[in-house]
């Protein structure tokens, strides 16, 4: 027993040292694993890691491509809808001029019809409008007050002519936007409007202008029965 003790003492110390070394190594390794690096990873595992990174890289690249394509598509479609909107706006403006709901300006003529009481009747006015339209008049207004559109009617009244519900009194000035020369010829040709008015004792003066501004608007009633069908 005594001998055993003598031998046992250093061995016990050695065992303690070994345990201390173990604890030290555990702590060291523990701290090592908290660091985020790959120095402790084997080559094969690194290869696997690299492969999986490659795969996810490819997947993400494909995703980027798809999303860019979608973005481009959306951008194109928004551009084309902008174009469509622009075209619709232009068309709406054209239709507004045609329907008489917007003011218009451009080259044209002013025709003044004057004379005694019955020299210029509703029929004469209507004829002159038709004549001007034949010559390509795009916008027509009479006396700066009555815009002539598709629904406009002409009625003889006691004091003048009722055009689209407005009473106009002589002298009548018809302003028209269109090719000034053609329209002036249409009024003045032999046996035409000017001759007819002058036969009845009236006078017709035609003035070609570089710029005729028509601000009179037609009263467009809201359609009561008709609805767009398409």
């Amino acid at each position: 027993m005594r001998e055993r003790r003598r031998v046992g003492r250093p061995l016990q110390l050695l065992a303690g040292v070994l345990v201390a070394v173990l604890a030290f190594a555990i702590v060291a390794q523990w701290r090592q694993d908290e660091r985020e690096d790959f120095s402790g990873v084997r080559g094969a595992e690194l290869g696997e890691l690299l492969k999986s990174l490659d795969a996810s890289n490819q997947r993400l690249a494909r995703q980027i491509e798809e999303l860019s394509a979608t973005r481009d598509e959306l951008r194109d479609s928004s551009a084309s809808s902008e174009q469509a909107e622009e075209a619709a706006r232009k068309r709406a403006a054209e239709l507004a001029i045609l329907a008489g709901t917007s003011a218009a300006a451009g080259p044209g003529i002013a025709v003044e019809l004057s004379g005694p009481e019955d020299a210029v009747t509703a029929a004469i006015l209507l004829d002159s409008v038709e004549e001007l339209r034949d010559a390509g008049a795009e916008v027509i207004a009479i006396n700066g007050a009555a815009r002539v559109v598709a629904q406009t009617y002409f009625l003889d009244d006691r004091d003048g002519v009722r055009v689209g519900g407005r009473l106009l009194e002589p002298p009548y000035v018809i302003e028209a936007i269109g090719d000034p020369h053609t329209m002036a010829e249409a009024v003045r040709f032999r046996g035409g409007l000017a001759d007819r008015v002058e036969d009845r004792g009236g006078t017709v003066t035609v003035e070609q202008r570089d710029r005729v501004a028509i601000t009179a608007l037609a009263d467009v009633p809201e359609p009561q029965y008709a609805r767009p069908a398409s």
């Binding site: 201390a20 173990l22 190594a25 084997r42």
Partner: protein
Amino acid sequence: MIPIIGLVVGIVAGFILQPTVPAPLEPYVPIAIIAALDAVVGAVRALGEKRFDDRVFVISFVSNVLIAAAMVYLGDQLGVGSQLSTGVIVVLGIRIFANAAAIRRQVFHA
């Protein structure tokens, strides 16, 4: 008593010195730790059975660590390092569990 002092000294030294594992030893330290733990758990079991021997503990500790490190080294040289270290860890884990079960039976009689 001495081993417990050693344990405390080792942990404290580890936290104070903040060591880093040298790169060449990096693959071997985890396996060596498991092997040493196996020896420690076996020693605790022997202590409980009143047949603990310093000599056996020291020799089994050192030889466990050396053999485990040698197997990992051999595996790395043969190109099966990760598989072999997994195998070593499994075997040592089984032994640790078995010893722990024996300790549990002694302490709790269950």
